[in-house]
Subunit: 731 residues, 2 copies
Amino acid sequence: MTHSGQSELAAANHKAVRELVTLERLREFFTPQSIAMVGASENSGWATALVGAAATMGFTGRIVPVHPRVDTAFGRKVIRSLRDLDEPVDTTFILVGQGAVESVLDDMAAAGIRNGVVVTAGYREMGAPGRAAEESMVAKAAAHGILLLGPNCLGFFNVHSKSPAYGVPIAPPLIPGPVGVALQSGALALIAQTIAKSQGVGLSLVATMGNEPMIDITDAIDYMVEDENTKVICLFLEEVTDRATFARAAQRADAAGKPIVALKVGATELGQAAAMAHTGSATGNDAVADAAFRQLNIIRVKGMEEMFATAGVLAYNTFPKGRVGRRLGVVTGSGGGCDIISDSADPEGLEIPEFTQKSVDAIIPLLPDFANVRNPLDVTGFAMASRSGETLNAMDKTLDIVIEDPNIDLVLYAGINAPPTAPLPDNPLAQGFEPRLAWVAERMKTARIPVVPISMMAVDQGAWGMEKLLQHGIYVAPGLNGSVAAVGRALRWLDARGSLNLTPEVPAATRQVTEKGAWSEMRSRQLLEEAGVPIVPGELVNSADEAAAAATRLGFPVVLKIQSEQITHKSDIGGVALRLNNEADVRTAFEKVYAAGKAVQGAVIDGVLVAPMRSGGLELLVGITKDPTFGPVMAVGMGGVWVEIMQDTSLRVLPVDAAEVKKAFNELKAAPLLKGARGSLPVDLDALAAAVTKLGDVAVSLGDSLGALEVNPLWVNGSQIEALDVLVITE
Amino acid sequence: MTHSGQSELAAANHKAVRELVTLERLREFFTPQSIAMVGASENSGWATALVGAAATMGFTGRIVPVHPRVDTAFGRKVIRSLRDLDEPVDTTFILVGQGAVESVLDDMAAAGIRNGVVVTAGYREMGAPGRAAEESMVAKAAAHGILLLGPNCLGFFNVHSKSPAYGVPIAPPLIPGPVGVALQSGALALIAQTIAKSQGVGLSLVATMGNEPMIDITDAIDYMVEDENTKVICLFLEEVTDRATFARAAQRADAAGKPIVALKVGATELGQAAAMAHTGSATGNDAVADAAFRQLNIIRVKGMEEMFATAGVLAYNTFPKGRVGRRLGVVTGSGGGCDIISDSADPEGLEIPEFTQKSVDAIIPLLPDFANVRNPLDVTGFAMASRSGETLNAMDKTLDIVIEDPNIDLVLYAGINAPPTAPLPDNPLAQGFEPRLAWVAERMKTARIPVVPISMMAVDQGAWGMEKLLQHGIYVAPGLNGSVAAVGRALRWLDARGSLNLTPEVPAATRQVTEKGAWSEMRSRQLLEEAGVPIVPGELVNSADEAAAAATRLGFPVVLKIQSEQITHKSDIGGVALRLNNEADVRTAFEKVYAAGKAVQGAVIDGVLVAPMRSGGLELLVGITKDPTFGPVMAVGMGGVWVEIMQDTSLRVLPVDAAEVKKAFNELKAAPLLKGARGSLPVDLDALAAAVTKLGDVAVSLGDSLGALEVNPLWVNGSQIEALDVLVITE
């Protein structure tokens, strides 16, 4: 098969697969009630794990081992082929060697089976020959109307439907719950399940994606958006293959009010290299992914532990639609704990204001004399013990006062310390634990403001306590700094909910481009002028006389710049003259600049550009390039050292509107300079955003031809805005 | 008692206490083998906890309850007073009301008891009256030769000597080990012990410090430095009261090769406010503490979990003396895990280089065909199973190859997955666990380079596995990103070991200062000139003629600056004229500047300073202020927006030498500008460091009189260095 033939097959496959994948099919796929393990003997670790997982999950459906040379396995009769089934199973778990997979697909079709998980590896991840085998397999599956997860995956398990199509042991207990997980890494599934369990986060679905030629990670997202058991979607991402489908899935999640929490690897060059080796596919530029994720309101995390802490806070607590204020009330039993929370709150943009005097007055009688009644509040150890016969302790009563404090938008409540084992009958404190939990759960659901239970330490919940917490639907966020960070992430997600600013598809090109490579400055200026981007006036001249005349028309001081498509770094060759204050200087400079251009071998000189020299104001930079995954992406920043040394830029995936451009400028560390620091005029941000939005639109209008479009500097003086230098590169 | 009287008592107390506190006394204090609980009935939670802690720890010494109105408690006979003891106990645990504490001290003296823990609260933390009661108590204790921990503390427990002078329940198991903890917060002790246990970090001592009028946290450090059972010292700090004793303790720890890991709260304004409320003492400026800690080679962490992860890595692994390279070898069983490690390594300055071809060739035969043999290495799940009859699996054999790879300086080894419970007899894999552990422990001790076991997830070790790990002295650092960060911190500590750069005491003043407030510029210039700090030439003039003559002597262009002690912001009142290119301009400017000065009410005009105007080069800033705890502290940075907008400064507590000043400049984000970015001359760093060191010495020479000393700008052009403007403020 030729390379182009393979690409045609891939394209045909893609089309066929997309027609096959419907929400209905996904729902069917992820909730099987009977499973055939093809290639399973008791020597297979995967099959052994599946059978064990089924027992752990309480799966009551059929598990049928299929093997050509084995009679019994796992206490079950082994059939020789899927064709021997009396009635079709819901899915197959395929463990056979690569050479046998396609015949298994034929058997499935003959047996009326529509779904399969391919554990078998050696496909796309191994390079070209594997890629061909993968396309061939997919073509056959699609032709049969069969939907596959994998190859090169470890399957999935659905906790609510109790479906164990999964080749990794599950250590009990497996907690059903609202958090779904899809992973572009098989081995991390075990880690994900273990961390979720340790934190008391219940799971809905855990899916390992494998090579994704049929069901891909956006399909898994789509399924979880529709799945009523899933409230928060966790992703481990090594690659985002397609902007449009990914963005659409993210939009549907946001519209459904289901946060996506993603651990996207490839944050550094090292990370990218590792990702490339381990998935066989390139990982896009990470800063671009960062920008795209923010525009899609996807919460990005750096570790698996914080992924589940963030998901737990979002899934188990009650938040209103829309923005929640940043004023925390903090109720703990430790002054040192208060200190750590305070230190952690500031970087998250969270405040810890004073309580009202009314709250303070109401709390004082509840606590011992030596308690210092202020926010953050240490109720002291005494207030954590319930009085005999009372369900609530003084800390609980304090919580109720803080909930009603008008200075407070959200309460962090460190009042739940679940005993690891069932309390002894003679322990009144521990005996009161369950009624207190019921009370806290009620507060979490109905209080005026969100009440978020947190733990002072990130350690495992004990079995007994966790069971009780889960019965009441309570998640205790782990650790002081960890839980504050998780709350910060949750609030930022709430802020952005419903205002996604990344369109799934880049609009089609509206300009025909025939040039390739760097454009001349005059041609670049023309492009921007046509689009209505403000640009410094300029005239192309070809003699010292013309230069002097143009300078007089434009007004002194002026700059001269050599114009040649072959000369991209004009300054380096002496092709630029600055601060020319009179005609004589302009004439001399023209000769010098022109000669410098002529001296460059092979350069065709179009002339010399004369333009007014601007001073004062600020010099900004707007650069637009093309990311392999997300397409056109714009960086804005202050020019000069701000970009070169401080790397102080904001990125946005295009197209964006003026409001988003303003946000991008306001994110800069140098943003105070825009407000008129150090005596310069405050920048007219509306005018700036309008101009930069047009620049973005121009870049988008070039479609796939866009290589780069850079304005450096973009000069701004109050509401005066001019592109002083422009470079366009097309491909 | 008058306020000054109280201060005298405090000073006398301090002197008496310091004479009492010797290493021998501390050793005796922290290892009691018999304890009297004074004020203990079975209603006391503290006493109940102590008795429980004793049982958990296996304390076999006497516990004697003392109470005036109770006959038996905790199955023990209660005595009425310490005077009724037949023989003295090693320490008392004092729970009585504040009014009775001093008579307990008398009883202790009468009974021959030298040590006590005061749990009783209501002292210094409650303000002035409590402070008086505290000083009175301390005076009595000191007079009796009694050493106290507290008041307002929860005591301590020493795991190796099995001494439970501690009023908080200890949840078993309590793991003996190499990590000591001292906390300026009582409630965090429980949290510390719980987190340590969950991570499998063994403890030596846990001490809660209380108000510290006698034994303070530096004494606890000193004890742990001497204690052979402690290898790493963990601190929770709300305040550092005294630079000298703290720095000396840190120096002794460093000299002994015992890292200090500190969670210092008060990182933000919020944190400082909370710390003030909760300890009754101000917390020093946090950025200064950050600098001081780095100069003292104290590892600073943000959370309790990372405190123990860092301590565990340092305490349980074998590191050579001196710097360890940054080239990691990574051996895991997960490609996704490799990605997360790669992403986490870069911010820590850790590299993951290629293995040598020799290593790759040696590893390939050990792993399945589909494994991708590169660093970071995913050995795949198959390589983690031992073959029947063999102790080591393929992953272990791989480790041995990586240890010998000359490209690698340290190995992260994710090969230890401790089963939570004892493996079943028919599980050969789990049965091989203990021999494998012994092998790994041997590698950790004897390998050419450090081998650091890490876990893929930060979850509790199960009881059985943890016991086995501890038996072999193995600590498995928790979580992928968490363990990489802990290794990064450990390596930075190793780098700095033995090269502390903060002297315990600020040298005494060598200059007598009579001025108070802002000095005139001429007087400030004189101070710097005397000290040999290079300063721009300048002449003080009092007429336009004198100004013109001075300008001609100094060379054009010049600047004029009004000189008056009453005018500190010269520019704001029009008292500065820049870029004067000829005599005429100088004359005009003189009149303008002089008139502007005269117009300021109450200003006595000393004249006008004429100085050459410098251009080109770089404008730096050196500012020195005084921190309440650490004394003189210097900030260096680039001037202008770099300081104002980017807050790009490096801090150093003074005095420092030129090498440390160079380091400070090299830490700036703007450091590339010093190397001659953007066409400017490279800065002569040796000359710069020499000048700035002199500036620091001048500030130090002012002693307590120093208010602030600021040079802004310090102009640098290659090796030309001049202070262009100087401000000195004394108190």
